[in-house]
Symmetry: C2
DNA sequence: GTGAAAGCGCTAACAA
DNA sequence: TTGTTAGCGCTTTCAC
């Protein structure tokens, strides 16, 4: 396959019109409103365009004029690499991409390197030529988010944070978590431990004091922890005594190391509650390494319901991630001039797998079942 | 968190300048060249901007003026969903995203729904406000690709197709495949079967005649098949007699069904050569289902070297997918006004795992090892 | 350090 | 069916 030499965009709509001896409108119409001119003339226009190497109306100029960029921006503070590795995130991304595809608009991934927090960092947000933004799971004090909110375009937030006046799509974390916690309480677990994701932008790989739990900048994690606390307190458990281990990175390995850290210090916990499936998968690996049988010796639960979790038989809360992304895209694209913000709450479902069971009694622990 | 009422973009750079009683230049400088005006004045400008709810220079207008969109377009014909599911594709995507992040430019995913092939379909390509395109693994007759090539911006193709005058990043498929095939020949395999990916835009789930192999519109697949043919012919195998099964979709399940189809018809093959790890993984699953031990009863090889393959001990050709994406991004972003097209060939490495071994002799087959 | 002028390339009333 | 007229909002020489 060969290609023609590329002339450095000399041809413009205007020069084409001049060449043809018609007005710019006519050329424009040839591209945008075929019904506004005779087929014959249109053919001539397109033909001459090809001859002159005119690639069609410049997209940027058109955007400026029509006030439509034909793209939606996606902000995820995390390194993209992360997004591509977490199946739950991929699901959201995929759903969003699908919605964009349907609408024929592009998906513009905004480069938001965390770390550098100066004005330069948020510049990418201001530079993005988009008709709206989808923000996926960022902390409530994220500077990029602030920048997005300044832009005069509609915005939809997925999962977190919750901000008054801004559209949001996400599950009801409180009730989902309450259901999960209820399941564990019912099974009889009272000595539990928790593995959670990043709670703020500063790194804290280790145990989490109550204060940090309550001040978490990630609303989703905050809600899940608070709901767990409420539910277990109601069952007579002193939440102060419940170990919570945080991990900055969200990988299976980090889940494993978090489980190790927790179990080393609290070997008597009967259940490990993880705020994501990824962490739970890591916890299961660590349990295996220690010779702990799941669920006989240790109950482990996750959150999200990713395929790997289902395959592993994990007890978890499933949420429709693909739908979440789709809903966000559709909400944004169909935003129009809606005045009242919309909140879409997606259904979740407790999926009891083979990793949760009643705790063994002390006697069973020492003397076998 | 609350947010201010959003005024429908009334403020512009001009109105701000008017309000302040300064020229537009000054306001522009306040944003783009802080050193061109007194700190005091700059402060006043920014302050007034905030008061008026001016979100900073409009990105589209700026792009038109500066002739820089601040984004690179990514074209992958396949549904995005596919891209997100194939680890090799995700690697490329991730590498590209990394390169974009480094350069502070956005990554614009072009919606390219396959199927509809009319002018409307390629419109998205023409509508994308980008400074260049990365094209990932599309057939050589793809209309979107043709549209991309018409746009007066630099383009880098990853993997396929190979087009004269266009930058390309990819492995040396021929030599990589030759090495792999050599390994199998050396082990003694002469009765082999091949599982390959889509060869053209039309669906053909089944056996592939030589003609279709040679006319494949996916250059990578074509090269791999041709190289296999050459290598085995050189070893005395009549390629005409070698079954090749194609699958349109690229999933583990399709790999399994392809293996089934091939093994049902050719139960005596001693090795299954798959042009991707995904297909190979499926083939392994099918082998297991049939009670065939790998590699004792059947040798299976893949291509790509994805993590799952390594975990499964698959004999495969590893290629640095992340680097591939990064290289593409950097090549594009650093394109400048280069005249001579550049081709970057990435290194590959044969990784012999636990799925390849010498074929059993006929006697062994019937009477045990 | 600041301002005036000249477009970037295009589309959309409105007229003819 | 085609052309005229106005900008969309911004940056950038080049004077002052």
């Amino acid at each position: 396959m060969n290609r023609p030499i590329r002339t450095r965009r000399q041809a413009t709509l205007a020069s084409l019109a001049a060449e043809l001896g018609v007005s710019r409108t006519t050329v424009s119409n040839a591209y945008n409103r075929p019904d506004q001119l005779s087929p014959e003339l249109r053919r001539r226009v397109l033909e001459t365009a090809r001859r002159l190497g005119y690639p069609g109306p410049d997209p940027v100029a058109r955007s400026l004029r029509t006030r439509k960029a034909g793209a939606v921006g996606l902000l995820l503070t995390e390194n993209l690499s992360y997004a591509f590795r977490d199946p739950a995130a991929v699901g959201v991304l995929e759903g969003l991409a699908l919605a964009c595809e349907d609408a024929g608009v592009g998906l513009h991934l905004v480069p938001a390197s965390p770390g550098r927090e100066d004005r330069e960092t948020t510049a990418a947000v201001h530079r993005a030529g988009v008709d709206g933004f989808v923000v996926y799971s960022v902390p409530d004090d994220d500077p990029h988010l602030a920048a997005v909110l300044q832009r005069p375009v509609p915005t939809v937030i997925v999962d977190q944070p919750q901000i008054d006046g801004v559209d949001r799509v996400g599950p009801d974390d409180a009730s989902a978590t309450a259901t999960l916690a209820g399941h564990l309480v019912e099974l009889g677990h009272r000595q539990v431990g928790v593995l959670c994701m990043r709670l703020a932008r500063d790194r804290n790989d280790g145990f989490v004091p109550i204060s940090r739990q309550q001040e978490a900048h990630y609303h989703v994690q905050r809600t899940r922890l608070a709901t767990l606390a409420d539910t277990f307190e109601a069952a007579g458990v002193d939440w102060q005594s419940v170990p919570v281990v945080e991990r900055f990175e969200h990988t299976v390995d980090d889940g494993a190391s978090a489980a190790r850290q927790l179990l080393d210090a609290y070997p008597r916990v009967t259940a490990l509650i993880c705020t994501s499936d990824i962490l739970a998968l890591g916890a299961m690996a660590e349990a295996g390494r220690r010779g702990l049988r799941v669920p006989a010796d240790l109950t482990i639960t996750g959150f999200d319901g990713i395929a790997e979790a289902t395959r592993a038989g994990l007890t978890t809360v499933h949420q429709p991630v693909l739908e979440k992304g789709k809903a966000a895209g559709r909400l944004l694209l169909g935003a129009g001039d809606r005045v009242t913000p919309k909140v879409i709450t997606l259904p979740t479902e407790l999926r009891v797998g083979t990793t949760s069971a009643p705790p063994r009694t002390a006697e069973e622990r020492w003397f076998g079942p």
